[in-house]
Each structure stands twice: as structure tokens, then as C-alpha cells.
Amino acid sequence: MIVAERKPIEEIIGFVQNCKKILIVGCNECVTVCYAGGKKEVGILASALTMAFMKEGKELEIKEVTLERQCDPEYLEELRGFIDEYEAVISLACGAGVQFLAEKYLETPVFPGVNTLFMGVTEERGVWSERCQGCGQCILGQTAGICPISRCAKRLLNGPCGGSTKGKCEINPELDCAWQLIIERLKKLERLDDYETLIPIKDWSTERAGGPRKLVREDLQQ
């Protein structure tokens, strides 16, 4: 999923401090699962903003809506009937959702309520970590199912570097060395010899380096 965390309340207040009527839009997908932007967090943010405004003797009318997804036009259409009544929208979706909402409603200011962090997993309750950077050419088949691009601080394809200490990364003793994990897994798979295969220079043109990416599936287009 896409993992996000709520922005500091002061920053969000700064976006809407001159408003009297705003819409807070949550998203029922990833940001709900990581407790950053689902229905519950929409309610919490609305209460926090109401209280902050009250303290300054101001009133703020807030409508709370949580869409199934903000990255799909059909769900964003649900805002069409009433969005014009509001001076601003705070979207608690990931960066994709915030932008798509803004794209669909050009005349209403849209502000992000979360910082979008990474594509990752729930390690345990309250702990999420990165697993994928969407490089566009998956190499997990060569690296024992552990991604050195997203999990090695230097994204080394033939690592580990000389800073790997006791299974941890040199930049943070809490962070597992991706290459240590790869090597342990290769051993369990009895494929440690595979480590010696040189992974060639990567084609990054399918990654961010190649510019904004787009996928078109003609078989699915009408």
C-alpha cells in the first residue's frame, strides 16, 4: 500500500486560516489502512480544526466526506454536487489522490492533509516500512525476493557495501541491511552461489529518471 502520515496540524491550519467553510475528504484505501486519512482521521482532523478556530474566536464549518478512492474519477464525481459550496478542500488521500481531486475540480483550492511517504507494508500494528520504489523493471527474481533498490540506502545492485555491520545498515542501526537479508535468504534457498552473478548496469528509464510514467492498456480501453 501507499503509506502516509498526517501533516502537523499547524501546517493544515495555515492552509485554511482564512476560510469559513471547508470540506475534508478522506480516502477509504491505503491511507485508511495506515490510519492517516480514512473516515476516522477525517473526523479527528475536523475536531482539531474546529477547536483551533474556536480558540481564536473564529467559526469554521466543516463537511466530512470519505470517498472509496480518490485515485479513480468515478468516486471523485461524488463531490460534484456540493464542492462549489466550500472555500477549500483538505484531502487526506496520498499525493496521487490530492492531485486527481484538484485536477477534477479546478476552481476549488485543494490542500494536502498528509505527507505521502512510500510504498510499503504493515510490519506490525503501528509499524510500516518501505518495500518498493516502482522502478518499472522488477529484479526481485535475482535478489531472493528482497529489493535492494528500495531497501538499501545506496540501492546497490551488487552489495553489500563495507558499512554493513551485524546485519544493520551504516546509516541507522535500526535498519536491516538489505544485502544481509538477501544473503540469508539465498542461504536458506541453498542458492548462495547466485550472489556471485553480476547484476548489470540498470536501465533507469522506466523509473522516475525517464520522466512521468504512464501505462496504457489498449485491450481495456473502450
Binding site: 563495507g162 551485524k166 550472489y195
Partner: protein
């Protein structure tokens, strides 16, 4: 004598001598005299001089410019190049720039993460890794071509080196990693500072079993401790460094004013023992901000005078 480049370091190794290299860190400013002064101190005691490339990610005068200064002094630089700060365009371009000044040695590194330096908020590049940089230089030199496939007019003639850390984890793949660098085409290795001699001997034994010591010239890295504090710092704070307790105890066991001398003693004794290790073809003496001690270390280790090669 079968050599592939005009590198003096390659010639010395090919003729069977133990090679001696050392390194100079460029200044945090534009005074080029800092480099030439450091080089003057050590030039008669080493065969080639590494110039570090923004080591520990602290911004400094660039390695290439410092190497050119050494070249203009008639010395033999080893251009250190990290993949942290440059993509494949800039790497190839800097390699050609170095080659245009007839810099004949390169050390291919990935580089410390920028978090350790003065720009922890900066981006890193890591378009390619150190092993792929080895492949890149060999490709440019041997095929005479850019990575993109076009011909290079006057390809670089560089003796290609890399670092190896026998002490980082996991230990069991350290020799396998060396084998990967050899497969990528590396010709000389400078190791991380060796304090745990037994562990290094085990590493070399494993390298010998695979015949790697005959395919690549391994220069054993040594760094003298200036003080017991430095020994403790290296032990506890520097990632991938293996300083045994007894070495720290030996440094701590002498009075503060005698500690620099003890550090040099340990360094010289290490070199003497490492000379006996099969596959050790020379020494890389990293006297960090203590370059003036290199002559004494080289002399006391019986590595002076340096051989003359044509």
C-alpha cells in the same frame, strides 16, 4: 613485463615488487598548496597517491583537480571516484577528463552515504554501483567505447582498482564479493584498515583457495592510530571497522604522550606480519591527517627505497 596501461603502480606490481600507496585528502577550500605540500611529504616513499573523493560525504576540493596537481608535480595519482554523486554521464566524462591529463589509475567506490557528511539533506545518485563502475572503466579502456556504444577517441588507459572490506558483515560473502569485483575486471584492491590480522589472514586464505590472489593485486590497508581515543572511535563508531580489544588495550596501556609512537609501532608490526601473507602484493598506508608519518612507517617496515621502473 605484461602490462595493459602506462601506470607505474601496475608496472611495480607486474615486476613483483611490493607496492606502496598512500592517500591525501583534499582541503575544504580552494588552496591547492595543501595537496602539493602533503604530496611533497610522502612522494619519495610511495609509488602512487590516492586522492579521496569527498570522503565521508564531506564536501571538499574535487579529487580530479587534486589528481591533476599531483600529475603536474610528476607524481602518480590514483583517482578515487564514488558513484554517490555522479550519474553515468558525469562518471564517464570525469574519467575522460582524468585520462586527458594521463591519470593512469582509478579506484572505483560507491562512497559513504551522504548522511555522514555536511549535506545530509542532499540527494544521492547511485546510478551505478562500485562493481558496475569497474565494468564501466574496463569497457571504456578495453573496448574503447562509451556505455552508450559509441567509440571513444583516445580511450582512457587506466589501471583499475577497488576497495575491499574484509571485516564488514556478513563475513561469509566477503570473499565472494571480492570474486565479483574480480569478475567485473578489477586489477588491484586496497583493503579497509586491517587491525584484526587473524581475521584478515582467514579472508586471504579463502581468497587463495579460489585463486583470487593471483587474479588481482591485493594491497593491505593500514592506518596508524594517533591516540587511544582514535582507536576507540574507530572500534565503536566507524561502520565496518574491526579493531580487536587487545589493540585498543595496547594503545590505552601507554601514557598519552607515547601513544602516537605506539600507534606507529603497531602499524609497522602489522605490515611486517602482513608481508608474510600469501597474496598480499603491497600496502596502502592511510595516515589520516598524519601524512608526515608515512616516510617513517615505510622506512621502518623495510619498504624503502621504492623501486624504480621504466
Amino acid at each position: 613485463m605484461n602490462t595493459k596501461t602506462p601506470s607505474r603502480l601496475e608496472k611495480i606490481l607486474a615486476s613483483g615488487h611490493l607496492a606502496v600507496t598512500s592517500e591525501c585528502g583534499p582541503p575544504r577550500g580552494s588552496d591547492g598548496e595543501v595537496i602539493t605540500k602533503k604530496a611533497e611529504m610522502i612522494k619519495d616513499y610511495v609509488d602512487a597517491i590516492n586522492i579521496t573523493d569527498n570522503q565521508t560525504s564531506v564536501t571538499r576540493l574535487c579529487s580530479l583537480a587534486a589528481c591533476i596537481r599531483l600529475k603536474l608535480m610528476g607524481l602518480e595519482p590514483i583517482l578515487q571516484m564514488v558513484t554517490r554523486d555522479r550519474n553515468r554521464i558525469a562518471l564517464q566524462s570525469d574519467i575522460l577528463g582524468a585520462a586527458s591529463f594521463d591519470i593512469f589509475n582509478i579506484l572505483c567506490l560507491s562512497g559513504d552515504h551522504q548522511q555522514f557528511g555536511d549535506c545530509p539533506q542532499g540527494q544521492n545518485v547511485f546510478d551505478i554501483d562500485s562493481i558496475q563502475l569497474i565494468q564501466t572503466v574496463r569497457h571504456m579502456r578495453d573496448e574503447g567505447k562509451f556505455l552508450g556504444g559509441d567509440d571513444i577517441a583516445r580511450p582512457p588507459r587506466m589501471f583499475v582498482g577497488a576497495a575491499a572490506n574484509p571485516f564488514a558483515d556478513p563475513f561469509e560473502i566477503r570473499v565472494r564479493r571480492l570474486a565479483k569485483k574480480v569478475a567485473a575486471g578489477v586489477e588491484f584492491i586496497q583493503t579497509q584498515c586491517i587491525y584484526n590480522l587473524e581475521k584478515f589472514e582467514l579472508y586471504m586464505k579463502q581468497a587463495q583457495e579460489r585463486g583470487l590472489h593471483e587474479k588481482v593485486s591485493i594491497l593491505a590497508g593500514v592506518t596508524p592510530f594517533k591516540s587511544a581515543g582514535m582507536a576507540k572511535y574507530m572500534k565503536n563508531r566507524v561502520p565496518g571497522m574491526d579493531v580487536p580489544d587487545e589493540v585498543v588495550a595496547r594503545m590505552s596501556g601507554v601514557p598519552k604522550e607515547k601513544q602516537p609512537e605506539e600507534g606507529i609501532n603497531i602499524c609497522v608490526e602489522s605490515i611486517q606480519r602482513l608481508k608474510e601473507v600469501e597474496g598480499v602484493r603491497g600496502f596502502h598506508i592511510m595516515a589520516i591527517e598524519w601524512e608526515e608519518m608515512v616516510p617513517e612507517i615505510v622506512k621502518r617496515a623495510g619498504l624503502y627505497p621504492r623501486p624504480k621502473v621504466e
